[in-house]
Symmetry: C2
Subunit: 271 residues, 2 copies
């Protein structure tokens, strides 16, 4: 496999979300030669669309996607994220379902509800210049972030969407951290094929301390990230490798500059 250069790397804004704001994160990325990011909705909300557009342009950072719309938050909220993404020139909006609320339904019902909401959104967004990238998350966040817990499930859901909404433009965001444990993952990635719009990575730490916010730098954990990149690129995927690190106890406690250096070093180490 070819060596990745800085141009092939997308650093998610959320990596620097605790140490910088929208403007500060873009300036830091630009200063280190990173030209791609994924926008983090809470940071965008603080900055506003107009100013965000100017900051992206001033820093010559291109937004690959906007993260993350939640189906359970309702169609209006999701559509407004699609509009924001279009205005900022992002190619996709990453979509998760939202977590399981046990008060009023079973898990199967919640999954059905997510599927129905996606079908409605896909219909409404069919003519949009921005695509939806459905992202399954790790089963451990089923309770509060996503009831879609495997790539197998996401593939099956999109098979059904192909029938229900033939003109849809929904693809997938595949996250190695969320899915590294999945049985038959190679087959599921192959099955996902050209549905893959976004490829997210971070490493799984052997002694993970947190149910969501303890992701590791590439090379610090147990995921075979080189093998994963091979599987992803064998589908024909030619997009960037997007690094997305939530790290409440470790990296977010350190200066943004140190974290960004570690990201670049980690990428060089595994790729």
């Amino acid at each position: 496999m070819r060596q990745l250069g800085l141009a092939d790397i997308c650093v998610h804004q959320v990596c620097l979300s605790e140490q910088t704001d929208f403007a500060g994160s873009l300036e830091m990325l630009a200063r280190h030669g990173i030209g791609l990011t994924a926008l983090w909705q809470p940071m965008l909300a603080e900055t506003g669309l107009r100013r965000a557009r100017k900051l992206l342009s001033d820093n010559a950072v291109r937004p690959v996607s906007l993260c993350a719309a939640q189906l359970f938050a309702g169609q209006a909220a999701c559509l407004s994220m699609l509009e924001a993404a279009a205005e900022l020139g992002a190619e996709s909006v990453v979509v998760i379902t939202g977590g399981f609320d046990a008060a009023d339904k079973t898990l199967d019902q919640a999954r059905d509800q997510g599927e129905a909401a996606l079908a409605c959104l896909a219909e409404a967004a069919a003519d949009f210049p921005v695509r939806l990238a459905l992202e399954p998350l790790h089963p451990m966040v089923c309770g509060f972030r996503s009831v879609l817990s495997s790539l197998a499930e996401a593939n099956t859901l999109l098979d059904r969407l192909d029938q229900a909404v033939p003109q849809h433009k929904v693809g997938l965001a595949v996250d190695a951290y969320a899915l590294w444990w999945e049985t038959d993952i190679a087959r599921q990635i192959d099955r996902a094929g050209n549905r893959i719009l976004n490829y997210h990575i971070s490493d799984w730490l052997a002694d993970t301390q947190d149910i969501r916010l303890d992701r590791g730098m590439p090379g610090d954990g147990v995921i075979d990230l080189l093998g994963w990149r091979q599987m992803i690129e064998q589908t024909g995927f030619a997009g960037p490798v997007e690094i997305e690190i939530f790290s409440a106890r470790n990296w977010w406690q350190r200066p943004a500059e140190e974290m960004l250096h570690a990201i670049i070093a980690g990428m060089n180490r595994v790729y």
Copy 2:
């Protein structure tokens, strides 16, 4: 469904492992009318087989199983747990694979290694009076406890074991906490059928704080434990409901008596 009585409940010794020892846990169970337990290997090791047998007999507590053998720890260690279980009158030894060591292999290789180790163990244990109950664990502990991460995977593994070691007596331990997120779980439980030897429960807390040691009391979390029991019993399973609570930050900080009262109250609440 019928109401469960104390006689239908098995309280795992590990629930009281931080507040009591082997003897203390059995005395407390007996005093509260609980006649079934699952033995916890580290507590047994501290007590010794001979004394353990006497304590079980003195307290009239019957061990349903011994937890947990690790395939990656080697066949000798697993066989010695089978021997201990036989001597104590337990019907099964719960078997997990052990965690993924990324240093020397891929995850697929680790899974193959677990399957091969189980086949050898199944062969060696075919004439034993104790059965092996293979337990898939939650994907979040794939890094350090079990590379077997779903019931689908465990079923497929046992399908293959049926071919490879026709006379084997390996069944399954099914844990609602580990598997509540699994897609098509109803189908997988049905598929497991009479392979189910042990049924473990605890609840998944919506705001789970720990990657392993924050299990909730029945009714405090989001799992439909009544629906789960229905699915399990529809396979013909007639064993006890085994409650297994690891709770480093909450229940293990409280007196054993308080925890046991909460267990009994929780069981009454959901069943």
